[in-house]
Symmetry: C2
Subunit: 422 residues, 2 copies
């Protein structure tokens, strides 16, 4: 028995309770389509684990399924840590090397997401449970030329239009391949990032990499819509998996619609590194901030009244005869009803990379949104925001990526197999 | 009533359960000297809160006391997020401005640590509880000349010796003032960082700022010694507050010993940004990694056997007649018994700032250690490590700071008042 076998064994032993709970069919309700199973905390389940290790608490024990109709990490509840990383295929690497890489990545992602360590492991995630780890893979526009698959490139990967407010750094934008990692433990997320990088081997090189975070589970009294680093409740208008048209808007349908068959069950991710000019923003008095957004800062309710989930009353006039929610308020312009029903699922991480070269905080939002068709999701909304959003003075889009994220792999399949081996 | 009053009110209301629990004297066991109080999760305590908001879970509800013999953030259990930030006094700012700044900072730290929002708040931490927030303040060597207090500068702030393996960036080292922030929620920690920066106003400017993290509460089955990004169990030999000589080794005594009276109950923090050369480290086979450290990676036990807390058997020979724990093993060289009983309390955060300019991970350890006297704590250990530590090939000290952290403020006092107003 090798040392790495030993490592894996002790890790499996530690996680024995998770496996036992999974086998018993314990499943906690998932907000989205990806299934989530978790060991129940408590001494009773602990007794089921070999070695008598106590049960992991829910934070560590929760795992997300790798296989399924859709990839994990799209409807999975926001995790507290995230890494986004883009790779370019190495010179000389083509379709064959890409297929082998996606196969390696899938093996690794499946193992880590279920709480197992890969054979040659760094040990960074030892002791911890899977902690809701998700690893999600996507293809950029340039991937298809480099692998001789140009004819199979979907129209959904046509370049995003240029926006007047863009200040994009091409070195931190796009890429042949994209991986999104999320977990509720920072070391589990970092461990997965290193494993993905190691798997890339000689086939691909990191193009850019970004780190993000969200609120910790349990920091608030009840699950709440996230806040961003401007202090705004952010994500209120998000479509819900229970909406009747959710699947149609977020996921590529199987068969027809002009989408390639290999994208069935997949989605398009638009990634924007949105720097927040916090020094300027924080100088703005609260009432002005609320005019910029069109919502109350305290609870996210529209300025026209109600609670966070109350619809905006876009025509309501104040005592001064002016619109209560101003013409250029961010929430008005981005409202789906103002954009022909365009819908995308926003699933961002905040980022904070310390102090930038200009002395201001290098912080903001790693905006990630999901849609069946970027031309009916991100693009029309961003076009309108680009023209007249009061918030645009306080933000700067610094990087951009558009990725085709194929559907979830069936048992025995690897991510992207239907593209790479068809 | 102003908008910011409203904000504060709704925040107090949300946190009503915490206050109620605190008044009822609920206290959960603290590993260290700083007291920790927490609301118990559950509907019963929720009923006590005005507005009927449900109780925060322990992650959010736990608060650490600002006042006390020692500042918080030294013996407080490691939080999952941390910020280190150093300031230099602005040109023209002296003792008076410094005193006013420490007073502002103390008001802010006390409010935030108890879950209250300051008057002009960014709102970033709204909804969340105090989440074990600690804010800890220290003075660098240069502070004393700039404030006309050179005669009161303690010998403990004499510059650290140069070490041959140092590759220090002066722009990210030292500083007039140092603030350590820790919390179990990323937005709570960021919020405190921004509040501290805002308080600095025209009196001080950020010199450097670093972000760190540790494992999330609940990711492991039981509280365990931390792991670092090399995958090593890190912190096993740490002195414990229950050790009979803990206080003497970590905190400056009141009266005598040559230490100034204003440092009574204080401690010295040595801060090192230690880059880990992970690409090299991860190429090393497991058994070689374990020889470098002298401990098993899986559980941190010495190579001479036992469990994590078993003492090293430094004289044990293997079947080959060689020392089982090699002469240059990190754990041998840093063992207190090899350093005249030198003891420091290591309380680090990991860091990961993406990919460095050289293409390797810009990741490692924000090493923070605490001691009553750096010449009997960090310095002798680092001298020995500098000469012969097998680990030195895989790490690089990139920044360094030494700060005098005064004792905790009494009720009505601000941090450093005994220095600045005596």
């Amino acid at each position: 028995m090798t040392d790495s076998d030993n490592l894996e064994l002790s890790r499996r032993r530690l996680l024995g309770t998770v496996g036992a709970a999974g086998a018993a069919g314990l499943v906690v309700g998932a907000a989205g389509g990806a299934g989530i199973s978790a060991a129940l905390p408590g001494e009773d389940t602990a007794g089921a684990g070999a070695g008598g290790a106590p049960a992991l608490t829910t934070v560590g024990a929760t795992s997300v399924m790798f296989h399924g109709k859709h990839q994990a990490g799209i409807t999975t509840p926001l995790q507290s840590r995230g890494h986004l990383v883009a790779f370019d295929l190495a010179p000389g690497a083509g379709r064959k090397e890409a297929a082998a890489l996606l196969r390696r990545w899938s093996v690794t992602a499946k193992a880590l997401m279920s709480g197992k360590a890969p054979a040659e492991d760094t040990g960074v995630a030892l002791d911890a449970g899977p902690s809701s780890l998700t690893v999600t893979f996507g293809f950029g526009r340039t991937f298809f030329d480099r692998t001789g698959l140009t004819s199979r490139r979907p129209a959904g990967l046509d370049p995003l239009p240029a926006f007047s407010s863009d200040a994009l750094d091409p070195r931190r934008s796009e890429g042949d391949l994209w991986v999104q990692i999320g977990a509720d433990d920072a070391l589990v997320a970092f461990h997965a990032l290193r494993a993905v990088q190691k798997d890339a081997g000689d086939a691909a090189r990191v193009r850019w990499q970004m780190n993000g975070f969200n609120r910790s589970a349990g920091a608030t009294a009840k699950p709440m819509t996230a806040r961003n680093l401007m202090g705004q409740v952010d994500g209120t208008g998000n479509p819900k998996p229970t909406d009747p048209d959710f699947d149609r808007r977020i996921f590529v349908p199987a068969g027809g619609g002009g989408a390639p068959e290999w994208m069935a069950g997949g989605s398009y991710a638009v990634v924007r590194r949105i720097r927040m000019l916090l020094d300027d923003w924080e100088k703005l008095p609260l009432d002005r901030q609320e005019q910029v957004i069109g919502r109350r800062k305290s609870d996210g309710a529209p300025l026209t009244g109600g609670t966070e989930t109350t619809e905006l009353d876009l025509n309501k006039l104040g005592p001064d005869g002016k619109l209560v929610i101003p013409d250029n308020a961010h929430s008005r312009i981005s409202a789906p009803e103002q954009n022909g029903g365009a819908a995308m699922l926003r699933r961002p991480f905040s980022f904070h990379d310390g102090i930038g070269p200009d002395g201001t905080p290098d912080a903001g939002l790693l905006f990630v949104c999901w849609q069946a068709d970027p031309l009916r999701g991100f693009v029309p909304v961003q076009r309108k925001l680009d023209r007249g959003d009061a918030l645009s003075t306080f933000i700067r889009h610094e990087a951009s990526g558009l990725f085709a994220v194929p559907g979830g792999p069936a048992e025995g399949e690897y991510v992207g197999q239907r593209l790479l081996e068809a």
